[in-house]
């Protein structure tokens, strides 16, 4: 969503920002894990964005800008401060190749919606957020990089680890389910 025009008006802001409302709320709710907090976050995001719209860099990605504001608001919120987003990485390490699919990994496709939702909740925020941006928001790697303020090269490796993490949680859940009931 590039904004090429220099004269950014309040109407432009409205036209650009309102269509993002539902998605922004969904994302906020996933981050905060709480309805009231998610609502505050979305409010704060729109207020900050409207106030800062004149400084919005023309030609950059508007959607990524909005998500970045939302995410930064979350990180400086009470819940956000408690979560660790800075995780010291093996980030620079090359993406290790993924194991071949076993019958177990093939079953993952059959995990039901609720189970996947629980698994996403259990994932650390930095994995959860990148998965949501990629799969739900269908952002490009470039947009994700802008949203999370990380180099584009890091997006791929973090995504790869997030998917591995999700598979692991799902596998544990499915194994637990089999022994359980």
């Amino acid at each position: 969503m590039e904004v090429p025009d220099k004269r950014l008006s309040a109407t432009t802001f409205e036209e650009l920002a309102l269509p993002l409302f539902d998605q922004l709320y969904n994302f906020a709710r996933w981050l905060a894990q709480d309805t009231a907090e998610a609502e505050d976050l979305v409010q704060e995001t729109y207020v900050k964005a409207l106030r800062g719209f004149s400084s919005f860099q023309v030609g950059t990605n508007f959607r990524a800008w909005m998500y970045r504001i939302l995410r930064n608001s979350f990180l400086s919120s009470r819940t956000g401060l408690k979560t660790t987003v800075a995780f010291d990485e093996e980030e620079h390490e090359a993406v290790t190749s993924v194991e071949s699919p076993t019958p177990e990994t093939l079953l993952i496709g059959q995990a039901d919606r609720e189970m996947v939702q629980q698994a996403l909740e259990e994932l650390p925020v930095y994995f959860r957020e990148i998965l949501l941006l990629c799969e739900v928001e269908e952002m490009s790697y470039q947009e994700i990089a802008e949203t999370l303020s990380i180099p584009p090269g890091t997006v791929m490796s973090r995504l790869s680890r997030a998917r591995k993490g999700l598979r692991k949680v799902l596998q544990e859940k499915m194994r637990g389910g089999q022994h359980g009931v």
Partner: protein
């Protein structure tokens, strides 16, 4: 190239981030390699599961109203052309990534299926001698007409001062689910708005947002448990303006 090297690229491929030449090669490889094809399938399934599971929370009407209030600007001259400048690059990116992904994505196949069905409904309606069952430009006539005919209710926007005219409505079906179809006119072009309950398997996992399908411009979103589709042969800016009106009313 060995399978391991391909596997490392599978995620980027399925995310639509692989260079076209590599994507073509990879596509050829997966057709001949059962192990890589199975791996790709698992990853597609995981992507789809996360996409469906991730669309989980709906904002309250209260929050929507308060956000609307805090950002709504004074009415200004139409800036449709600006939307075109914004929407054209966005659309071309969407189309490109859709093209790459459609090599391998049952998601896309399903989405295409829904869109082609909607396009069929739209075209068939316009070709019909009685395109609408309730003929009225008055939203206060059209809306109540649907009462008792479909299992939900919806709000329609006031069109005064816009380029759109409401022609009427009819009951329609998508995947055995009843819904409302409204026909709007803008500069001699007809645009269909479809409203369904957002619970059918067919529509539930569809991502929102603008798209070009079968040379029609389409916008879709969910609001208050309803799934809206706006489809027509007009430019994306008109589709967006109408969508915006409907969103504000819904």
């Amino acid at each position: 190239m060995a399978c391991d090297a391909w596997r490392d690229k599978l995620d980027a491929y399925l995310d639509g981030e692989l260079a076209p030449a590599d994507a073509r090669e990879l596509s050829v490889h997966t057709r001949g390699c059962a192990a890589c094809a199975a791996d790709a399938l698992e990853r597609v399934q995981l992507k789809r599961s996360v996409a469906a599971a991730g669309r989980r929370y709906e904002p309250s009407a209260q929050l929507r109203a308060s956000i609307l209030k805090s950002v709504s600007a004074k009415p200004e001259k139409r800036m449709g052309w600006r939307w075109a400048i914004v929407a054209v690059p966005v659309l071309s990116v969407v189309i490109l990534s859709a093209l790459v992904q459609s090599y391998y994505g049952r998601e896309n196949v399903r989405r295409q299926h829904v869109y082609s069905e909607l396009a069929d409904l739209h075209v068939a309606t316009l070709a019909s001698t009685t395109p609408v069952d309730v003929v009225s430009t008055d939203r206060h006539t059209v809306k109540p007409w649907f009462a008792g005919k479909i299992p939900f209710t919806f709000n329609l926007p006031e069109l005064q001062g816009t380029e759109f005219t409401l022609l009427g409505g009819r009951v329609t079906y998508l995947a055995q689910t009843p819904g409302a179809q409204l026909i709007y006119q803008v500069r001699k072009h007809e645009v269909s708005v479809f409203i369904f309950q957002d619970r059918g398997e067919e529509t539930a996992a569809l991502p929102s947002g603008p798209l070009k399908a079968l040379s029609f411009n389409v916008e879709n979103w969910t609001q208050n448990g309803l799934r809206y589709f706006v489809i027509g042969d007009v430019g994306p800016d008109d589709i967006q303006s109408l969508s915006k009106l409907l969103r504000a009313a819904g």
